[in-house]
């Protein structure tokens, strides 16, 4: 009688512990996934901000550097391409091209002292530099989150919970180094 009671109690305690762990693991995964989605949303916010800033920049530069039509057109083109990208991979590539064209635009602007003295231009330059950084840092945080998330849905025993509630692996936001490092063409 009392032995049976003890067995029941032991089983009950073990069951409670398992359920408690289960809840904890599930909540942990949900928290990670939310963090990841948040990080992804942040990248989007920053990219959008960059799209908004570019027309302003192009307008300002146009007034001073009329001979740089080609560079300006490339920037606009890259922006539109990035805005219309469908998949994550396509988008990442378009963003890299955009970063490259912006770099060459700023390199070209070095040749125009009047432009470099323009307060509006300086402000836009600072904003765009910072937006680039923000994109990079959000991506860094996103990738770290993805790594943490992917690790936790793969390791035992959390993978059981992940399998039951179909938490799927996430892709990294990759940067192709060559595209970023593409040397800006400078013409004086």
């Amino acid at each position: 009688m009392s032995a049976a009671l003890i067995v029941v109690i032991v089983i009950g305690v073990i069951l409670l512990a398992v359920i408690g762990w289960f809840i904890g693991a599930y909540n942990g995964l949900v928290r990670l996934r939310n963090q990841l989605e948040n990080a992804w949303a942040q990248i989007d916010v920053q990219l959008k901000r960059r799209y908004d800033l570019i027309p302003n920049l192009v307008e300002t530069v146009k007034g001073y550097a009329k001979h740089e039509r080609e560079t300006l057109e490339k920037v606009i083109q890259a922006r539109n391409m990035a805005m219309n990208a469908k998949t994550i991979g396509e988008r990442a590539e378009a963003e890299n091209i955009l970063t490259g064209t912006l770099k060459s635009l700023f390199a070209v602007s070095e040749a125009y002292p009047d432009l470099k003295a323009n307060q509006n231009f300086l402000r836009l330059q600072e904003e765009l530099t910072s937006t680039e950084n923000k994109v990079a840092f959000s991506r860094q945080f996103y990738n770290d989150s993805v790594q943490q998330f992917n690790t936790s849905i793969q390791v035992f025993p959390t993978n059981i919970v992940a399998g039951m509630f179909s938490f799927a692996r996430r892709d990294f936001f990759e940067v192709k180094e060559e595209a970023v490092r593409e040397a800006p063409k400078v013409s004086f």
């Binding site: 990080a39 942040q42 959000s138």
Partner: protein, 455 residues
């Protein structure tokens, strides 16, 4: 994310409990020593003191401390770069909210973060910091401050400070009551019963009252130093560029001037101790680890992850810093390249303009010393008279005011127009000044050595 917060929390709980134990046993002992059986009253007194201190600390809003530091809140238009850097670091850390940003008008470079909850968090930097650091360095400093917020250091250090304050206050009260309130102890003596035991208890209580605060202080400061290291590790992880913070720390420590509005209460908050102007040495009672050591650790990192910092930290002869779990979870990270942004542009320095007007070239050393080099000095570099580092003398730019410069071109002749002050530019670009009393037929240019005829 980054479970060093969890490890922190455990360690913090241990520290707070230890301090609470010291406080309560001090209260009990003091009560028993003053009058036998009054231990409970002592306990209550200790608790009341703690409550009062708690009210004082947590009642004092962040805004009071900020105002006391001479900080004023700024908007994005006041310093777009600072704002952007803070926002960048918020994204990199995943902090989830942007702290308010304050500026302190002080030429000494320094910064601190404050805030126990998201709504009242703030980051304050001095104008000296803003004008001296380039973007990478500023990023490093801000990342360190955001690291403090992310690791919830301010909340914890405030709790610890409350404990420390209560212990110090209780022991003060007890020791004073012994000195001035001799009556009660005499009464207990006259009662006779267990006089010797009472005496022993008194001795123990006095020893405790003297050693307790010391012990609590050592604990508190050790913890404060550890948290500085942790914030450095976080900064390296957020920026992926430890050199930025290392070089910023070098500049801040090298400036060797105290922050005017800093005091003992706010000193532990700053990135580098603002009161110790020079020669920081490690002692049990310093709030910050020696800056040289922090720089050394940052520079010896092989990557930028928490694990890399841990390795560098242990190589410097310390024990473990970061919890095992967070080390396992931190992915390997390399160090990124330096950004190409130049130094933060500083507003026109009136002192520099003045010295230029008087025929001197202002040279600023990172140790904080301003040197005026005469224009006739004919070498390209000069050794700083304070720290000995080699400084290059910049070519003088044209004067911002009084530009009645004549005689441009390559002519080696200058036509005087008035008898007053006159300045003109040499062919090499250097501005040459002639005083009203200048009577010689020729003047020698300080940088190119051309001899120019004065007519």
């Amino acid at each position: 994310m980054w479970e060093q917060i969890a490890a922190n929390r455990r360690r913090s709980a241990v520290l707070i409990t230890t301090m609470a134990a010291v406080l309560l046993s001090l209260g009990y002992l003091a009560g028993e020593a003053i009058a036998p059986g009054a231990g409970l009253i002592g306990l209550t007194a200790a608790f009341i003191i703690w409550l009062i201190q708690m009210g004082l600390y947590f009642g004092a809003a962040e805004s009071v401390l900020l105002a006391g530091s001479g900080a004023h809140e700024i908007q994005k238009d006041d310093s777009p770069r600072l704002f952007n850097v803070v926002e960048e670091m918020v994204l990199a850390s995943g902090l989830g909210y942007t702290p308010r940003i304050y500026l302190i008008d002080d030429p000494a470079p320094n910064a601190f973060a404050i805030g126990r909850k998201p709504g009242s968090s703030a980051v304050a930097v001095t104008t000296g910091l803003l004008h001296r650091l380039n973007r990478d360095e500023l990023q490093g400093v801000i990342a360190h401050e955001i690291g403090h917020l992310k690791n919830q250091d301010v909340k914890f250090m405030t709790l610890a400070a409350v404990m420390l304050g209560s212990i110090v206050m209780l022991s003060e009260i007890f020791l004073r009551s012994l000195r001035f309130g001799g009556r009660s102890s005499r009464r207990s003596e006259s009662r006779g019963g267990g006089g010797q035991a009472q005496l022993i208890l008194l001795v123990i209580a006095i020893a405790f009252a003297i050693l307790g605060p010391l012990f609590a202080q050592v604990l508190y400061f050790a913890c404060s130093r550890k948290r500085e290291f942790l914030a450095d590790a976080s900064a390296a992880q957020f920026t992926r560029y430890p050199e930025g913070l290392a070089s910023a720390l070098e500049k801040i420590a090298g400036a060797s001037m105290p922050v005017t509005c800093a005091n003992k209460t706010t000193a532990p908050l700053y990135i580098v101790n603002p009161l110790a102007a020079t020669g920081q040495s490690l002692s049990l009672f310093s709030t910050h680890p020696p800056t040289e050591e922090r720089i050394r650790i940052l520079r010896s990192m092989g990557g930028s992850s928490l694990a890399d910092y841990e390795a560098a930290y242990q190589r410097a002869g310390h024990g473990g810093l970061i919890g095992r779990q967070s080390l396992q979870e931190s992915p390997a990270q390399s160090i990124r390249d330096a950004s190409t942004d130049g130094p933060v542009e500083s507003p026109p320095d009136t002192r520099a303009i003045q010295s230029r007007q008087c025929g001197y070239i202002p040279v600023h050393c990172n140790c904080g010393l301003d040197i005026s080099v005469p224009e006739t000095y004919n070498r390209d570099t000069i050794n700083c008279v304070r720290c000995g580092s080699v400084l290059t003398i910049p070519g003088t730019s044209p004067l911002p005011t009084g530009g009645e410069g004549q005689g441009e071109g390559v002519s080696l002749q200058f036509q005087r127009q008035t008898d007053g002050w006159e300045s003109f530019r040499c062919a090499c670009g250097r501005t040459i000044q002639l005083s009203p009393g200048f009577a010689a037929p020729r003047v020698r240019c300080g940088s190119c050595g051309r001899s120019i005829e004065v007519v």
